[in-house]
């Protein structure tokens, strides 16, 4: 048997990739890994920004179980994520299928749908508040002018949640649509030609060719939309401030209140750890589901 010779490799094969990766690794470690580890540590302390810290073990996590507002905001977050993610994926997919074809008009429409994603969420929130305000809102002004009754878009808990879901879709669908357009354009045209020759209709082509080949991109979209929705804060805070009452208060806003208003950084960090675990579980579950699906195929 021939003995395998160990080669040292050239600079391009060994050191160069590491050098190229190092700035990203450094920034990632500095701004993601280190704060995450510090957050984990902080969750085990009774930690005040101004008055120091005291080790309390898992007491912050035990306290969470009895915190009614934690459960309320967690439930609100799940309602929001549960509505936003499927709708976002469905609308983004629908728009991508409609607008993936080449042509100037398609490009214009794609740009129009993408445009809201370029706006700051603060601006989006302020603009929608002007539109949906009960007394000063433009929409209710039009409804009243047409002889209708003003709608409490942001003053009724359920309508406020629905309005937030709609606003999120409006502002984020263009971004995910563009990702899926990219995915659709990467599917070779020859598959569609073969399907046409075999006599497949539009629905069958979509189900048998587009959807299976787009699944990896759909998974990325679903994962990103899930993470983004769990972390939603700016748009909600500017539009409803979590109200009316706590009807649209999500976990991230509660974490902010606890950590910064009440100066209970340790307790806030414990909630952040729980949120991180939930996001990790959802992301992992999506990857597992995808892997199992591939296995079945």
């Amino acid at each position: 048997m021939k003995r395998r010779r160990r080669t040292r490799g050239t600079f391009e094969q060994t050191a160069a990739p590491l050098l190229f990766l190092s700035p990203n690794l450094l920034i990632f470690s500095l701004f993601i890994i280190v704060p995450a580890v510090m957050g984990l540590r902080m969750s085990l302390f009774d930690w005040s920004i101004l008055d120091g810290s005291r080790f309390v073990g898992f007491r912050n996590f035990v306290r969470l179980a009895r915190d009614a507002m934690f459960w309320k905001t967690l439930l609100n977050t799940f309602v929001y994520v549960g509505a936003v993610v499927p709708l976002l994926v469905a609308f983004a997919l629908g728009l991508a299928v409609l607008l993936a074809r080449p042509g100037r008009a398609m490009g214009v429409f794609r740009s129009l749908f993408y445009l809201p994603t370029l706006l700051s969420l603060i601006i989006v929130g302020i603009a929608w508040r002007w539109i949906l305000g009960f007394d000063l809102g433009i929409l209710n002004y039009i409804i009243r002018a047409l002889g209708g009754k003003a709608v409490p878009w942001l003053t009724n808990g359920r309508l406020a949640m629905s309005s937030l879901i709609f606003m999120t879709l409006w502002t984020r669908v263009g971004y995910f649509m563009m990702m899926l357009v990219g995915g659709l354009q990467a599917i070779p045209e020859t598959y569609y030609e073969a399907a046409r020759i075999d006599g497949a209709g539009r629905v069958a082509t979509f189900r048998r060719i587009t959807l299976p080949l787009l699944r990896p991109m759909l998974l990325v979209v679903a994962v990103l939309a899930t993470i983004e929705s769990f972390k939603a804060y700016e748009l909600i805070f500017v539009t409803t401030q979590g109200g009316p009452g706590s009807a649209t208060k999500f976990l991230v806003q509660y974490i902010y209140e606890v950590a910064f208003e009440q100066d209970r950084m340790g307790y806030g960090a414990a909630m952040s750890v729980v949120l991180m675990a939930i996001i990790a579980v959802f992301t992992f579950a999506q990857f597992v589901a995808r892997r199992e699906e591939f296995g079945n195929e």
Partner: protein, 414 residues
């Protein structure tokens, strides 16, 4: 030369060189970092007012950093936590409670002399629990009411006269008349979406948030329930818009648009409406009475920190800024109430409206300041607001609202 002469010469040299050292130290360039936020034009006025001080202290320079109010508190907290607080900062009364252990006490004859000229309620808010002054008031604010006088006139009500003696019931009756006489006016009153403004009703009803000494919540009381139920009645009967407390609509915009007849807010509204409202006659009137007449004192303060780099220079600047001349100029140009008792300010306009707010402030009990400077109370600020809204929405009774607020507050007061 004898030994005695040598010693005398050495002493003479030493004495002669001392002033030189002092001059050298005095002329050392100092850049004071100043952290500020604006309600309107305060940072510009501060710099304008202090121009003469800087001219007479050529070694002192100001490095002003103006931060939006929403980011201000966190920025200041992080600077303090990082061991790098600003030399001078503009702060609110909530922040005095928050930074009570970090603020540099203002002691010595200069500050004792200055304090003698200020309203005790303003000084109380600027002091710690032992009465030690931590910050000088730059301006006073008071909760109060601005009304659309055109609407009241159309309803045949002389609101200036009526408001001298009115109580809550008479005020409600007047609002109903105004609504009947003015079809464009949709609501009687808009109250700013803060527990601080709501507390005007609590104090007028004779209630308090805290017990004497501030060790326990006392909101759940007959007076507290009276205030809460009255506030709910205003909303249930359509006298107050649901869209402010339950929908985050801006009451200032509603008043300026002529949708509400009265606005309960802060004295700084005089400045705001002076700039924005041109199409109707408006002015400040006294708050209506329940058990007592009351406002809620507030304001802004100027302070330095124990860990500030140029503490002495900062203290000198604060003292100069707080004297009569500088304080009057600052309050006049920022269109604010002065916290100095001896202030005699003629504002460019609306001097009479400022006097109304001062009048409300003059009858305000000192315990209102004691309650609001409690760090525990300030920690449940968002919770209080949410709980009041839950009561307004009918998700819980107002008795439950009061009980919940007390229970939550007590966890921070323990």
């Amino acid at each position: 030369m004898t030994r005695r002469n040598l010693l005398l010469m050495a002493f003479g040299l030493l004495v002669g060189l001392l002033p030189m050292g002092a001059v050298a130290q005095g002329s050392q360039k100092i850049t004071l970092s100043v952290l500020w936020f604006n309600d309107s034009n305060e940072s510009q006025v501060f710099q304008k007012v202090m121009a003469d001080y800087l001219a007479s202290h050529p070694n002192v320079r100001l490095d002003m950093q103006v931060v939006p109010f929403n980011d201000y508190e966190n920025k200041l907290k992080l600077m303090i936590a990082g061991g790098n607080p600003p030399d001078v900062a503009r702060i609110t009364n909530n922040q005095i409670a928050m930074f009570v252990n970090q603020l540099q006490p203002l002691t010595g004859p200069v500050f004792s002399d200055l304090a003698a000229h200020y309203f005790p309620s303003s000084l109380a808010l600027g002091s710690d629990s032992s009465g030690r002054l931590l910050a000088m008031p730059t301006e006073a604010t008071a909760n109060g009411m601005i009304v659309n006088k055109t609407y009241f006139r159309r309803a045949g009500i002389d609101v200036d006269k009526l408001s001298l003696t009115w109580d809550w019931d008479q005020w409600v009756a007047a609002m109903r008349k105004v609504l009947a006489a003015n079809p464009t006016c949709k609501y009687g009153v808009a109250v700013d979406f803060t527990p601080f403004r709501f507390s005007t009703f609590l104090f007028e009803a004779g209630g308090r948030f805290l017990t004497d000494g501030g060790t326990k919540m006392a909101f759940d009381s007959p007076a507290g329930l009276d205030a809460l139920n009255f506030f709910k009645m205003l909303h249930d009967q359509g006298l107050a818009p649901a869209s402010v407390w339950m929908g985050s609509e801006n009451p200032q915009e509603m008043f300026a648009a002529g949708l509400v007849a009265c606005h309960i807010g802060g004295s700084w509204l005089i400045n705001a409406y002076n700039n924005t409202v041109k199409n109707f006659d408006w002015g400040a009137v006294r708050m209506p009475k329940r058990k007592i007449r009351s406002s809620v004192p507030g304001g802004k303060w100027i302070a330095t920190f124990k860990d500030s780099r140029h503490k002495q220079a900062a203290l000198d600047l604060i003292a100069a800024f707080s004297d009569k001349k500088h304080n009057e100029a600052y309050c006049r140009d920022t269109f604010n109430l002065s916290a100095r008792q001896d202030a005699d300010i003629v504002y460019p306009s609306h001097t009479a409206d400022f006097k109304v707010f001062s009048s409300d402030l003059s009858v305000t009990p000192a315990y209102t300041a004691e309650d609001w400077k409690s760090p525990g109370l300030n920690k449940i600020y968002s919770y209080m607001r949410e709980q009041i809204v839950e009561g307004l929405l009918g998700h819980q009774t107002m008795a439950q609202t009061a009980a919940n607020i007390d229970a939550q507050g007590d966890t921070f007061l323990r």
